[in-house]
Amino acid sequence: MKRFKIILIPVFLLAVFSCEKVIDPSKVDLPPHEEIIFIEGEVVRKKQNNVIDATGPFYVTIRKSKAYLDHTEGFTGVLDAVVTLRDDAGNSEVLTHLNHGMYQSGGQVEAIENRTYTLEVVINGSVYSASSFLSPMSEFTATPYVYEEETGFFPAGYFFFSQWRREADASSFFRVRAFKNDKIWYGDPEVAFKYLLVDDSYGLSENLNFFIPYNYEPGDTAMMELMSLDEATYVYFQSIDQQGQAGTSPLAPVPGNVRTNFDGKNVMGHFSAYASHRIQTVVTE
């Protein structure tokens, strides 16, 4: 596992020693809000129950930021963008706007391994573009689960393991994601280990077996997903994870913006192409 979560141990220690007090937000001098565009898009090659889905549809959302303490619901979508998806095999299509800044592909561009995809977004003459490489798919060999008693960090419950083999021609960057009853699941209570990221920069064994620290109950439908990523997407998830740990505490990483692969000013977000293998299980006692 790339991240040993070393930072969590000092955080735990500080939690032991520190006290808290909720203060009036007006006592904190927040910086002024300067509106930015944020874009999220992905091209996914999925495999579940031995069925491969490469045609999507693929979605892109384009929205505008709001002030940090603005608690109005939702974000304002960008409705008039021209969104074009291309691959390096010469295929391309303009995505259709659905609603609230969400755009959908029409199946002309397919998710094929070892292809590079480019997303181009034009808003009022400003062009934002990003590219991503779709890595070959790695697949789970098994996702067993066991019952564990309560520990200092985790409640009692059923916990899964994600097991797969490293292949020589496969991606070096992985994310394991868990779902519970068709919704993404980070455990109860949500633990800090939201991003289960694995990379090849350590001497990984051939057969991998990682503990997934999210509890399940009997009867839950659990789905584990193995995402084979390119490096930029891996770094993007890593930077979201890092921001989750960052803060003003002396022991926390310095707060900073999440990495983006979009060119252009006042834009954030990410466009990724990845392969996804999923296994679904109903938890029994």
């Binding site: 040993f4 500080l14 940090y68 303490l69 974000f75 920069s201 990682f210 890092q242 803060g247």
Partner: protein, 882 residues
């Protein structure tokens, strides 16, 4: 001949060199010997021309005129030249980034200046026959050497100080003199001596009564700040440090230092500190000359320095004198006690968090002694008392062990061996844990060649490492990383005369950087692996002079030259100069092969002008280079942050600092005041890209960014050193900025160490023989930090958007601490005291963090949470000594 008057009682140990007087006579008569001492003859001649002989007629007169006007003019030109360099740097017209050729040129000028001044000083003194009196000054009750003690002859208005090993040398005219020795905290001593030849005089001084010591600030001589040519310096003794109330009664060197002007706490209540806007990794921490790479216990709540084992603490705010190097912000030089060579003694204490015990004893009376001092916390015992298994299954403690031994091999040789061993251990019940610690060792040999030349040879070992382990069913491994140094160091002190002392020497350090080794201890997804080690040589040579020019001027000037070689074996990633994000290849180097070399000059200059005995103006300029860097992307450095060497990508950090100061004493030196202003220019500063995750990153250079910095400010200090009430007030007004092309859109931003206002007031009051009280109040502007400006959602997570780095501040810190100490009977063999203190009396919630999170009542909104460490905290400590 030297005679000790019978009627005078002294504990001084006297030696006599009968040969010397006859040798002096012989030199005058023997032309061969006379030629060898030609510079001295010239100097004596010059003295007569300049000082005594009336300038009339021809022949010698012209020579006299030439010398009379030429030397001062030359000096003036040189002084102006140096002043111009200083001003030019200050005005940013030129920087020290000029070529090494120019550095050498300036270096030569400095040496010429040194030589010229030396000759003149010599000439001023050589009217009569003079002889050296030298020796070592010691504490009469413990046998420990006294550092920087004052020794002189008031009637001659001449004197000197002992060096950091207690040695002194004074050049006095033949005849009878009253030698006066003083060291604050000790009874002043007057020893009548008759100088007839070269003399060895070792002196022992008796401490003042315990009651009196408690109300004196004993860190330096009475008028040290006026007489010394140095500036930007802070000295503290362990008794002073112990008197400041602190968290849980744990006296702490680093927290005491934070009460001084120019020094800011990285976080209120913790031991990390910033000096003049520098980063915490830019402070060089030396314990008996060995580098301490991580001075924190419990992640910074306490420092590793056990006050019971400490003799002297000196902080140089900036480069310091030329013998120091390797960090760009400050040097904190801590000397350990040597051990009592007179009798068996001990001291210790019990507090809420830890207990301490120090034992010291002669190995052979007046010849040698050893000291052993230990400290251990009992937090883990408290954890065990918890009924909650999630708490009682954890382990959390730290310990320190300081040891030292010394032995006098002969009159002129002394050996010292000292060591420090400390470790923090934390294991969590769920199968994870970590530990870290320092080990240092110093073997030192002091040798007195003659009355003028003293040397110190040190062999030093320093190791810092941390371990992290996990022992769960599916994952079992241990990770170890750290840095280890082997150092050799040779220093000479040469007492040219009473007005000129030279110090010169060289150092060589072999660094070995362990960037991480993972050992698999059971089932695991990992294989054993390690990051490539890095090895490097860091060498330097220096010469410096401490010079007085009459009673008005004093100069400290020196040159240091340092070299750094990153050497093989190893693989180094090659990067394109314009693209540090993707390595272009891997370069292989064999064992000892030089991968990259950096070197450069580090000039240091400090000047004092004292128009009278009560005031002084001082100015200083200095450059320092830092070749090893702590790779940290957290707000404060953690033990897990690797130290990395300069490399083909990472260049040495460089700091140039100028400072000006005015110093004024009042009421017969009972009060000291000063103001200093400084300006610091920083090059090759290191930071990390937003979102960088650098733990065990094989391409750490990819995540680094390099930039520049500036820090400037003013420091004000008022200190009362005598009387029933003593203490100090300190105020610092400062700015510290950084700029990196790759951060904050290339705009200048505040450094984390930027602290606009920092006040500190420490008062100690002796109520009576039994009771004393202390009070400490601090106020500091809030830490520069970054709050979010906007929010977006990515990958289903609320993501914060930041505009400008460190543009906001957390609320200001301030608190009041008080303490009362009951002192037992000082005449008893077993002396004890009880200290009761209250930290943060008015329960100020000083923030260490401000957190934004979904409200517990309404998860759709965000609440602002202030996190603070120490509320009002009473503590009780029992101390004893025997």
């Amino acid at each position: 001949m030297f005679r000790l008057p019978v009627a005078i009682e002294t504990s001084g140990i006297l030696h006599r060199d009968q040969k010397d007087a006859s040798q002096q006579t012989e030199r005058k008569q023997n032309p061969v010997i006379a030629r060898k001492t030609f510079p001295l003859q010239v100097a004596m001649h010059l003295n007569k021309v300049l000082k005594i002989r009336p300038v009339t007629g021809s022949g010698p007169v012209k020579k006299g005129i030439a010398i009379r006007f030429g030397v001062p003019v030359l000096f003036t030109m040189r002084f102006v030249r140096f002043t111009c360099i200083v001003l030019a740097i200050y005005m940013q017209k030129i920087k020290f980034v000029v070529s090494n050729t120019n550095h050498m040129k300036h270096g030569f000028l400095l040496l010429i200046f040194l030589g010229g001044m030396g000759i003149q000083a010599r000439a001023q003194e050589s009217g009569d026959r003079k002889f050296d009196i030298s020796g070592v000054i010691r504490n009469g009750t413990s046998g420990e050497t006294l550092l920087y003690a004052n020794i002189g002859v008031p009637t001659l208005k001449t004197g000197t100080t002992t060096n950091e090993y207690g040695f002194y040398s004074l050049n006095l005219p033949e005849g009878k003199h009253q030698l006066e020795i003083s060291y604050v905290g000790f009874e002043k001593k007057v020893i009548p001596v008759e100088i007839t030849g070269k003399t060895r005089l070792d002196i022992e001084m008796q401490p003042k009564g315990i009651a009196l010591q408690e109300v004196e600030i004993t860190d330096e001589k009475e008028d040290e700040q006026i007489r010394s040519g140095q500036m930007s310096i802070v000295k503290m003794e362990s008794s002073e440090i112990k008197s400041i109330p602190v968290v849980a009664g744990e006296a702490d060197v680093l927290k005491a230092i934070q009460t001084q002007p120019g020094v800011a706490a990285a976080v209120d209540g913790m031991a990390g500190f910033f000096v003049r806007g520098g980063g915490s990794d830019q402070n060089l921490l030396l314990l008996d000359e060995a580098t301490v790479y991580n001075a924190s216990h419990l992640l910074g709540f306490f420092s590793v320095f056990n006050v019971d084992a400490i003799k002297d603490v000196t902080l140089h705010k900036g480069a310091g004198p030329a013998q120091y190097g390797g960090r760009v912000s400050s040097v904190l030089d801590i000397k350990m006690n040597e051990g009592n060579s007179k009798q068996f003694a001990g001291k210790g204490g019990m507090g809420l968090l830890s207990s301490r015990l120090t034992l010291e004893s002669p190995i052979k009376k007046d010849k040698g002694a050893f000291l052993i001092s230990g400290r251990r916390t009992y937090l883990d015992l408290f954890l065990k008392l918890s009924p909650d298994e999630n708490v009682n299954s954890n382990t959390l403690f730290f310990y320190d062990l300081n040891t030292k031994a010394h032995y006098q091999l002969g009159e002129n040789d002394r050996l010292f061996l000292s060591g420090y061993f400390g470790r923090d251990v934390f294991t969590a019940g769920f199968g994870a844990g970590f530990d870290w610690g320092n080990t240092t060792g110093t073997l030192r040999w002091n040798h007195i060649y003659n009355s003028k030349l003293f040397s110190n040879l040190s062999l030093i070992f320093s190791d810092f490492n941390y371990g992290l382990e996990q022992n769960r069913e599916e994952e079992n491994f241990r990770l170890i990383a750290g840095i280890r140094d082997y150092q050799g160091k040779l220093d000479y002190d040469y007492y040219f005369n009473n007005n000129l002392k030279l110090k010169f020497g060289a150092q060589g350090t072999y660094h070995r950087f362990n960037n991480g080794e993972v050992e698999i201890t059971g089932p695991s997804n990992l294989n054993n692996f390690s990051r490539p080690d890095r090895r490097a040589w860091e060498n330097s040579a220096y010469i410096k002079a401490d010079q007085k020019w009459g009673r008005t001027f004093a100069f400290h000037y020196g040159l240091r030259y340092s070299w750094f070689h990153l050497v093989g074996p190893g693989e180094v990633y090659a990067f394109d100069e314009n693209n540090l994000t993707t390595p272009t290849g891997i370069l292989n180097y064999s064992d000892g092969e030089i991968i990259k070399t950096y070197h450069g000059i580090e000039p240091r200059l400090s000047v004092r002008y004292a128009p009278d005995d009560q005031s002084a103006l001082k100015a200083s300029v200095g450059r320092s280079r830092q070749y090893v860097h702590q790779a940290s992307n957290t707000n404060s450095a953690l033990p897990f942050d690797l130290w990395v060497p300069s490399s083909n990508i990472v260049q040495p950090q460089i700091a140039d600092q100028v400072a000006l100061g005015y110093f004024r004493n009042f009421d017969e030196n009972a009060w000291e005041s000063n103001v200093e202003i400084y300006y610091k220019d920083l090059q090759n500063q290191i930071d990390f890209r937003d979102g960088a995750d650098i733990i065990l990153d094989p391409y750490i250079e990819q995540e680094m960014v390099f930039g520049t910095g500036k820090a400037y400010g003013a420091e004000f200090s008022l200190k009362k050193k005598k009387g029933k009430t003593t203490g100090w007030l300190a105020y610092t007004l400062s700015w510290s900025n950084r700029r990196y092309d790759a951060l904050n859109n290339g705009e200048v931003f505040r450094a984390r160490s930027d602290r606009r206002h920092d006040y500190s007031m420490t008062l100690m009051h002796r109520l009576n023989q039994k009771w004393s009280a202390t009070l400490n109040w601090v106020y500091a502007s809030g830490l520069a930090t970054t709050f979010p400006a906007a929010r977006i959602v990515l990958d289903g997570q609320v993501i914060e958007v930041y505009n400008e780095r460190n543009a906001q501040r957390m609320p200001a810190n301030h608190r009041l601490d008080v303490g009362m100490t009951w002192h037992g009977d000082p005449t008893k063999k077993w002396r004890s005291e009880w200290n009761f203190s209250i930290y943060n009396v008015y329960n100020r919630k000083n923030p260490y963090a401000v957190d934004f999170r979904p409200s517990a009542d309404d998860p759709g909104t965000t609440e602002v949470v202030l996190m603070y460490l120490f509320p009002i905290l009473p503590s009780l400590t029992y101390n004893f000594n025997f």
